[in-house]
Symmetry: D2
């Protein structure tokens, strides 16, 4: 099981969320969660939208907590929109090209979960990727393949729809191959303008996902909390697990739901996979 984090708001240094909260993403990565067998020590990554034309990508196959470059980079850059990920491999090799975020043009993608029976399904799933997109696949994870299937199914023009068709296709292929619960996923994606997230599982147990409440509302609740002064009213954080224990800060995203975080009001819509 992986863990990830997405941020959209006023520009901040990513280290503020990666290292500083009591249960920061890096702190979380050191220990396994309940019912989980291992730490998130099989690599990590940070993708950010900055001042360059294309988003930046830092990925490493080593545990995040001991990686000095991640600490340096996340303290030097400033970004209004970024995705970070710590990996626990579900079987594929521990290597940089298997680390999240995955990137395609302006788009980035992180995932927590797995495709059931991926070993058997991989070839058929790969074949369905648009041949023009195929050369972009560099690693061997189910996660990267999910991204390329979503791209194949129209992610760029219709992000939630692309994800729904990706999930629907994988579920159909998985069930044909005999899997009862083919897909487990929370995903985070971005085009540099909006931050999208979805929580879904074929079965009843879905990996957790949380979104932070309005900073404006939180300031009313906690007028003395200095941490909150730093963030703009509309700043949002999406996380696989809460970063700090502050009542009212985190709201669980229900299973079967997609979020669109953006300037102005955020949107929350049902996430309903269907075969494309």
């Amino acid at each position: 099981m992986c863990r990830w984090l997405g941020y959209l708001g006023n520009p901040i240094r990513p280290e503020e969320l990666l290292y500083q909260p009591a249960r920061s993403l890096i702190e979380q990565s050191k220990s396994h969660g309940s019912g989980v067998s291992a730490a998130n020590a099989d690599g990590h990554g940070l993708g950010w939208y900055g001042t360059a034309d294309a988003p930046g990508l830092f990925r490493s196959a080593s545990p995040a907590w001991g990686d000095r470059n991640l600490r340096e980079v996340s303290a030097q850059i400033s970004s209004p929109l970024f995705l970070a990920h710590v990996r626990a491999s579900t079987g594929t090799p521990v290597q940089q090209t298997n680390c999240h975020p995955f990137r395609h043009g302006q788009w980035m993608f992180v995932h927590n979960g797995f495709i059931d029976g991926y070993d058997r399904l991989r070839r058929d799933l790969l074949l369905r990727v648009d041949p023009k997109l195929f050369p972009g696949i560099e690693g061997t994870t189910d996660s990267e393949l999910m991204f390329y299937l979503a791209l194949t199914f129209g992610l760029v023009d219709d992000p939630v729809g692309g994800l729904e068709r990706m999930a629907g296709f994988i579920e159909a292929e998985g069930r044909r191959a005999g899997s009862a619960h083919p897909l487990q996923m929370t995903v985070g994606i971005s085009d540099g303008v909006r931050l999208y997230a979805a929580r879904y599982a074929s079965g009843v147990e879905a990996n957790t996902l949380y979104v932070s409440s309005s900073v404006r509302d939180l300031r009313l609740l906690y007028p003395a909390d200095e941490r909150l002064q730093h963030f703009s009213d509309e700043s949002r954080v999406i996380v696989s697990e809460p970063l700090v224990d502050l009542p009212g800060l985190w709201r669980e995203v229900p299973p079967g739901t997609a979020l669109v975080v953006q300037e102005g009001d955020d949107r929350e819509v049902p996430f309903r996979p269907y075969e494309p």
Copy 2:
């Protein structure tokens, strides 16, 4: 907190102890123990006495469980005497030269524990290392420095005495610098003939250490257990934590004790640090 394992007996493939038991060393490395904050994912190592003149040493800064080379090497070689270690850094960099075992000529050394206030003490401890031995220090850990101090204080001719003087010197230096409990350690060392271990802490809480019972006795207890047929009567395993739950298999080594595992009867003696 690190974890380690030592074996002396008939030649076996190290993978038999590193990967196969229910709570094998590699399995243990994935999760933090009780009261411990992180997995043992900051590197690992295997040192073995084989058919070459010098012992072999495989070390890597990556988590043990995802390292394919460790799996390959530990399945290809056969050895009557080896030490393995999985590391959780107490602050020094995650790099190969900081991974255990450390080696000097025929000797190898592994450690679980720490020197309290190492940052402040390091220079003074380094200065005490025999200048002729000094160039052999390649890393920056307290563990390697403990090994070189023990070598300086006569480890080669008197292994337990060398360790006691090392511990006594560190305690004296630590107390002069204001530390109440300067040293926490279980160590395993070998010259290729015997396997030595010691459990000691300046305070009351000492990291755990276990030694396996006589295989001969165990066969009487468990005549049907096939795993036991494979080992010679005198095979011994020393571990920071038990590898399997088999009543009667593991005996806790008391704090303040040194073990000498060898052909013929093993010895167990008090471990009493004193300033050299």
Copy 3:
């Protein structure tokens, strides 16, 4: 351009060929050859047949010359048959799963060369791999894919034929895609009994390949050379470039040729790709 080495003979420690000759494989890896733009510093590997049931495989993405584990492992093991490789990437990522040798069951494979226009051809070549073999592909190199195509085309039962059909298929696909010279290769493969090699290029310039002369003959030429006493009469070394300058030691394998090195007389046959 990569470099590689294969050995069949009495059991030796691989370090004897990897490190000790004047122009050992590791020494060669430090510098680029004539007309070549880079050192062989994008990873390395050693595959060997030893005492375990399956061959052993050590691979690393770092430069060979600075890798201490390669030095240790190659000095500790003893093997009558091994393949070693130093890599200079032709574009695919620098990662362990892209390092040679590649292994499938008892078979191992090393390659020096490239598939012209691999980026464009990769998907079509992948689709031709036997779906039952497909899950074994872990990396993204043209070399590994060549191995899996040869396996698909019957390498196990007919090694030279499998290679010829692989080469023929790639040439046909490459030419359909507009490449004038689709394939450049020297390959070394083994099943643990024989050592096979082939030198071939679609164009006129083929990467070099050399095989050592009979040790028996060499002893007559150089009765005082101690290095030769160590090797059995039938020991053979196949190399991309000569390891030492000893007149009469190395014979260039002609382009369009396959070698079968085995107990008893070796065989040399034409290598003629054809579409399967």
Copy 4:
């Protein structure tokens, strides 16, 4: 032999000098120079002064040319002052803590060269480092030790003087230990305001060092060269070897010389080591 580069001028993305020139630092790292035995593939680093309080530091033990993170980071950040380095080890381990630049507070340091007989001298040199600075030493190179000696000898208040005393001390220690030519060095240092460099060797052969000419003058020489439009009049590049072949662009820094590159006129002064 290492290679390095320093830049002071209007803010640019470091990739412009690391990757884009015909003989960029990364391109240089692939091949050994004349009379040099290996590529610069034993690690690399980039240190830059940006918008954060402290300078940023990216270092990696892998070859620079295959490191995707270096490419990403150097394309995302913008800096008016940075140092970059590609390493060829002269014996010490290939690890991140041995990669340049080394950093202490606001200061950074890169080096090309070596201390003759470093193995024998290391302990005595280490002992001379100010005990308050000592804990900052993380690696095992002669280069990092030179930096800490220069800091010990007053680098912060008198940069050129600190370097001269460091060089003088090492020469004195080396000669006492029997070395004819104890020191070979070009160094680059910065405090975030100025860029300092020195070229010096105890013997007659000193590693090369070049500084770029005034961009203003170059524009007069090459009015049509678009590359030059991008740089401010006072931009300066210091390099171990020229990055492009443009007559008039590079001026060799004479042996025994120190440079101070700064806003306003640069200074060039004799570099005369003396024992502190």
